[in-house]
């Protein structure tokens, strides 16, 4: 240790003996400065260790207990050698949050990003705040607390530096991992100051940087872990290995609500390498196992092979009547006649009767399954006095809740190691696969790795809603919209939590009621649509079909009004009148128009194109972010080739421009899969699709040239994981119409018959 630092530290210790008080700031509430915990100080100066209870990987423990000196919050761990370990509390599944959030900490802290190691935090909401990762909410919720944590740490380091320099704090500043004395340019490294800084109180209101001072926020930053990825060293939920671990494969009842009638285990139990056959019954929780039978073996291969030979009979239950072809046709009928009123403003009937023109259309879409490249997988070890989980997950808290319920223990006694997810897209919010591994581990009294086959992943998931919407609108002589009737029918996610729900509840139609178009004469209705399978969040959720209906219908209206789509959309925004909050509506209009203009400009929409080509455009506001997409297609008979996509985004202050760009590229690919190809079909209650041959997600030859244009904004940052998905399908449908005159209103456009 630097002798001056040592001296300052000794002085501080001596002062503590005299008045025997240790500074203990009190505020640890989430709302204000949130995560600035002071446990390190309370636990005593130099001896402070690594006290996060849930971090028990050996590597972390070793590194932490040996070196970490400065630990002003759960997120920040500074070692004496200057190494800075930052934890990401939100779950990483490829969206880049574990680079974006720690970079905000490092920026405010004036830390050198090259000295930073990022680790995924275990499940611990007390320490890391809300960790259930969905709704594109991570940046919206955590940007401010992360900056404050970094800024507070910086101020503590500066105070420590000033003590050593024996000068006023005002004479010192921090820059790139050093504290510097302005008067004489003396420098001390962050690492050297770590122990001393640990003795300062955590500042109540640290000063945050201004935008012009940002070093990492708003720049293109490499993902912190991509070096590990390309060497095959990044470990995912499926990669956990423990001594004595056994391997399991599972088969579920193919129909929701079905039960096990019989299973003949004898032959399988005789197979070499098979350890046990475990029956899993559901518990009362929406994220419980569906119920199934698992084979446990010495390795995954034996488990899979034995499972295939197991004779299982199911009672399929009442949902065996579910056939999606008929169900979708029924949804269409249900929205093409009056349904249950949700919201009414003005007088739609009068607007319709006084109109110059009226347009109506019905839009539909099928179920989708997430199909992340890493199927559901987890390792669980249930012991008498502990339960430890390693899982790719979007919600460690729900794992704790479900396993606590199953085991009859406290949630805090369930340790969840959040593993990098090999894709998730909403699927890994639901921890049925973890519940199952826990049941198996408990029965065989050993750690168990359960991996779902691709077929189980596809056939017994939580699906994006099959859906139908019917819209009717009236236009005046100038082509302005005067009335809007919007009916939707789809089994909603609420059906998971509320048995017997026969239609989407009012709040599931919020995106219709609060659309920035904000019609004065407006009526929304929800049609009959009971759920026959588990419905779940899928990347962009309802915005997928709302974006499709609004974006395509707007295009249809533009043609009816005789305006080009961009002019028409601008007119709709300009003529919209705020329903409740004037200021918010004005902001929505301004930002929607800005992304529209940006996408339009770069795409060249309106220019002459070769025969068979067309550009379509759509804007959608979802998850507090604004995205416009212009899609350029070439249509030749049934052959639809997407050439270019211009994507304009306004998500407020962007954290990582490269990450934002990647999210939009990914949204285009996912949007293209669901627009053109993918649909989950049910027959007699069970999913017909089984693997990537009959659930044909997009492959590389279809990849268009995607250009992403980011609005430079000072608004509060909002998320980008989902908002890019919604505008793709309508922009594509509009482009195909522009190119060929054919209007597609049912997704996917080119379904595979299975």
């Amino acid at each position: 240790m630097n002798e001056h630092v040592l001296h300052a530290l000794n002085e501080w210790k001596a002062s503590q003996k005299q008045d025997d008080t240790i500074p203990t700031p009190i505020d640890t509430s989430m709302s204000r400065r949130g995560f600035l915990k002071t446990m390190s100080i309370a636990s005593g100066g130099l001896a402070l260790g690594f006290t996060i209870p849930a971090c028990s990987t050996t590597e972390t423990k070793k590194q932490a207990s040996a070196e970490v000196k400065f630990n002003p919050s759960g997120f920040i761990h500074l070692s004496e050698n200057g190494d800075l370990l930052l934890y990401c509390g939100r779950c990483e599944m490829g969206q880049g949050i574990s680079t974006a959030l720690p970079s905000a900490v490092a920026d405010e802290m004036e830390a050198d990003w090259q000295r930073v190691t990022v680790k995924q935090a275990d499940g611990n909401k007390e320490l890391y705040g809300p960790q259930n990762t969905g709704g594109s909410a991570s940046i919206r919720k955590m940007y401010q607390p992360m900056r404050e944590a970094g800024a507070a740490a910086k101020e503590m380091l500066i105070i420590a530096g000033a003590k050593v320099f024996k000068t006023d704090v005002e004479n010192c500043y921090a820059e790139n991992h050093f504290v510097i004395n302005k008067l004489n340019n003396q420098k001390l490294g962050f690492g050297e100051l770590a122990s001393l800084a640990a003795n300062s109180p955590v500042p109540e209101k640290p000063t945050l940087k201004t935008k012009d001072q940002f070093k990492y926020i708003g720049k293109a930053l490499d993902r912190h872990d991509q070096g590990l990825v390309v060497e095959g060293k990044r470990t995912y939920g499926v990669d956990t290995k423990l001594p004595g671990m056994k391997y399991a494969a599972i088969s579920h009842c193919p129909v929701l609500g079905g039960t096990l009638k019989s299973v003949d285990k004898d032959a399988v139990l005789q197979m070499q390498g098979v350890i046990d056959v475990v029956e899993i019954t559901p518990i009362k929780h929406p994220f419980s196992s569906l119920g199934g039978v698992a084979v446990v073996a010495d390795n995954s291969w034996i488990a899979q092979r034995a499972l295939a030979q197991l004779k299982i009979e199911w009672d399929l239950g009442p949902n065996k009547v579910y056939n999606t072809k008929e169900y979708k046709a029924q949804l269409v009928k249900n929205v093409e006649k009056p349904a249950e009123l949700v919201t009414e403003r003005g007088d739609v009937a009068k607007a319709f009767s006084n109109s110059a023109a009226k347009v109506s259309a019905t839009y539909t879409g099928g179920h989708l399954c997430h199909a992340p490249m890493e199927p559901n997988a987890s390792v669980v070890w249930v012991q008498n006095d502990s339960c430890e989980v390693w899982a790719s997950t979007q919600s460690p808290e729900d794992i704790q809740t479900v396993l606590a319920q199953y085991l009859g223990r406290e949630a805090k006694d369930i340790t969840v190691h959040v593993m990098m997810a090999g894709g998730a897209f909403g699927r890994k919010f639901k921890c049925d696969y973890v519940h199952e591994a826990a049941v198996i581990s408990k029965q065989i009294n050993a750690p168990v790795q359960l991996i779902w086959s691709r077929e189980e992943d596809m056939r017994t998931g939580y699906y994006h809603s099959i859906n139908a919407q019917h819209i009717e609108a009236s236009l005046d002589e100038q082509g302005n919209i005067t009335g809007w009737l919007h009916r939707a029918a789809f089994p909603s996610i609420v059906s998971l939590f509320q048995q017997g729900l026969d239609r989407a509840p009012a709040n599931a139609l919020g995106q219709i009621d609060n659309h920035p178009f904000a019609f004065n004469n407006f009526r929304s209705e929800t049609g009959y649509a009971p759920a026959h399978t588990r419905i779940g969040w899928y990347r962009a959720v309802y915005a997928i079909f709302y974006g499709f209906a609004f974006g395509t219908f707007a295009d249809e209206l533009a043609y009816k009004a005789g305006k080009d789509p961009v002019t028409f959309l601008n007119d709709v925004y300009d003529n919209s009148t705020p329903i409740k909050n004037k200021r918010k509506h004005a902001e929505q209009v301004q930002r929607s128009k800005a992304v529209l203009a940006l996408a339009a400009k770069h795409s060249g929409i309106g220019k002459e194109l070769p025969k068979g080509e067309g550009i379509g455009i759509a804007v959608h506001y979802s998850f507090n972010s604004y995205v416009a997409m212009a899609v350029h297609v070439k249509v030749d008979g049934d052959n639809i080739k997407v050439l270019n996509v211009d994507c304009a985004i306004d998500c407020g202050q962007v954290l990582n421009t490269d990450g934002a760009t990647a999210q939009m590229e990914g949204a285009v690919v996912m949007g293209m899969s669901l627009s053109l190809y993918t649909e989950i079909s049910f027959k007699d209650g069970a999913v017909v699709n089984s693997n990537f041959h009959d659930y044909p997600v997009m492959r590389t030859s279809d990849m268009p040239n995607v250009r992403v244009h980011i609005v430079d904004s000072d608004e509060k940052p909002t998320g980008l994981g989902e908002p890019g998905v919604a505008p793709f399908a309508p922009a594509l449908s509009n482009a195909i119409f522009a190119a060929s005159g054919t209007r597609y209103r049912d997704l996917p456009i080119k379904p595979l018959t299975v």
């Binding site: 390309v230 995912y236 390795n299 995954s300 899979q304 490249m373 090999g422 894709g423 590229e665 690919v669």
Partner: protein
Amino acid sequence: MAKTININGVEHPIDVDENMPLLWFLRDRLEFIGTKFGCGSGLCGACTVHVDGQATRSCIIPISALAGKSITTIEGLSADGDHPLQKAWLEHNVPQCGYCQAGQIMNAASFLATNDKPTDEDIDNAMQGNICRCGTYQRIKKAIKSVAYDLAKEV
């Protein structure tokens, strides 16, 4: 004496059921976890390794077919992660979740070894069997092209 298989330069005895696909021998027997399970049916390419240099789906090839063969996995593609493709993947910031990328890189490496001046169509044809759900195709293509361009310059 037991039959052996050479993996990344090291001989390993084949001491499992001979029908076991190479993927599970790698992942569960040897605990080489860089090679990923994606579909189990040779449809997604996440499990791609090289068998005597040829890109092969390890989830469907039984270990019995591989006695005496040389296997290269992502862990053995280069000594220090410095294969031109690995470097290009970093240069172009390809990975999102990264789960499929070992398979993508192994497939591309085998392909480029036989075609160092690929057209866009060649790349599409060669990479068509490797799925990425995060949607990194655009960057994968750019990364492959940049390596092909560098190779062409060397000639």
